[in-house]
Symmetry: C2
Subunit: 266 residues, 2 copies
DNA sequence: CGATGACTTGACTGCTGTCAACGTGCGTGG
DNA sequence: CCACGCACGTTGACAGCAGTCAAGTCATCG
């Protein structure tokens, strides 16, 4: 139920102090290392990367990883769980900018001006790896594959954002939701989860906000898609019944988060 | 009229072959070097950067710098003129993704998968510096300031794209156009042009496409803004009469392309 | 078991897209 | 130099998608 087959993690509600060693899992043993920062980095160099990374205690649902305006010191890689990032407008309105799944990097937009333009909040129990940026920069200068992978990840983020601009700028409500679901499905698949069945960790309101739609519209579309036998939805649980047709619904050219790095099997 | 006070350039219509030396201007002498890739790179290292950069002959209006699907080998820095980037959907539709002004880098979205996901086309006579990416990567590993600046530029791009997502997802038509004009104005100012008076090198159709609006809507808004004495518009020429009020119109929180690097004075 | 928050459904309004006609400026060619 | 044609831009009429407001339902948790 809780999408977390990746890492053993202290039981959710236990407040007892957990030794950091217990949740420390080296990149080499992390099942995400084929889609995360270490891609292409060989075993010996992986140790150097490991040594700068700090595995933190899990965040509870609703906890902030950082807030809009915080000084930028580190990037974070999601290890398990999920996050949302959002901007806050002067009048207090929230604008959801993205959802982050295991293996994805948060905070790339903060490098430019050394503070976080967005806030990041856990949507469920979530653990992250903290990667101090100055260390990462030094290490990148020494490890060409690491430098390359960092640039690739940032490039991929730019491309994904461009894709989102198309979705937001040109697509109808139903196309947006379809594209969103296909994108999520692809991302889950890439992480070894079922592409046809998953739980949404975010609310309807978050989805609507992210897609530039009213939450009522999202809700209506879910029931419509269900009536058309495209999918089955039960509260947070989604089952895609006809991924192909859903893809067509999305106005095609939807390939959000499609395999960025094809290196080893799986 | 032609926004090009930056670099001497061969006369527009002359078809005679121009020696490459004639248009070769080293980064050190380029007035854009305070907002371009060389930021922070000192004089001696600038020579190394220079040596990998290839200054090409100017593109004519309508020429492609690269096309969707082309292999990725180089980034390009705009030296003078302007470009638009756009995606092409399966059905041949164009989606404008951005407009590029002097000092800005094109092609950052192509690093991830080694081909260009977008096409780039000159909106007017435009010259660019070609920067072979493999050379840039090697050099970055040697020059920490160059590596840092490259990461900053990519981070800035991500942030700008996030800003655009807010504009497209949440803003009304008038807010979008106002935000677009404020953003352009800021970018012109940064390059030493007047922030209150400039020429649009792109068509109404391009603007609408970029903002997710029908070109008719863009046209209507221009006349409305003019009637409200926010600006004066004559064909391609725009004069902003009340930047403050236009900013308010944009739904605020608009700071697209605001001063990224504040290092040395003017 | 009641309260709270998330979600669903309905009715209505309005913004913005579409279709269509018309105006305007520029380049081409006579 | 003028006339024509074309591309680009403006303006108007109308319609439809999606937002807003509002009421009602459902699940979860104390």
């Amino acid at each position: 139920m809780n999408p977390n087959p990746v890492i053993d993690m202290p039981t959710r509600k236990s407040e007892k102090v957990v030794s950091l060693k217990d949740i420390k899992v080296a990149c080499g043993e992390c099942t995400l290392n084929e889609i995360c920062l270490p891609v292409g980095v060989d075993a010996t160099d992986l140790g150097k990367l490991d040594s700068i990374i700090d595995r933190k205690r899990p965040l509870a649902r609703g906890d902030h990883l950082f807030r809009n305006g915080d000084a930028f010191r580190s990037l974070y890689a999601v290890r398990s769980g999920s996050l949302k990032t959002y901007a806050t407008s002067p009048d207090g309105q929230e604008q959801v900018m993205g959802f982050l799944l295991p293996g994805e990097l948060v905070g790339l937009d903060a490098i430019a001006d050394s503070y976080h333009p967005l806030s990041a909040r856990a949507l469920e129990t979530t653990s992250v790896c903290e990667i101090p940026f100055s260390d990462l920069e030094s290490l990148s200068a020494q490890l060409p594959t690491l430098q390359h992978q960092l640039l690739r990840i940032m490039s991929q983020e730019i491309r994904d954002d461009e894709h989102n601009m198309v979705v937001l700028g040109q697509k109808s409500a139903e196309e947006r939701l379809a594209a969103f679901l296909i994108g999520l499905s692809n991302r889950f698949q890439r992480r070894g989860f079922s592409p046809n069945q998953f739980n949404l960790s975010m609310s309807r309101g978050d989805i609507g906000n992210y897609l530039g739609l009213a939450l009522e519209t999202v809700s209506r579309l879910f029931t419509r898609f269900q009536n058309e036998n495209l999918l089955r939805v039960d509260r947070k649980h989604i089952e895609l019944l006809d991924r192909q047709r859903l893809y067509t619904y999305s106005g095609s050219q939807c390939s959000e988060q499609k395999d960025p790095q094809e290196s080893s099997g799986r």
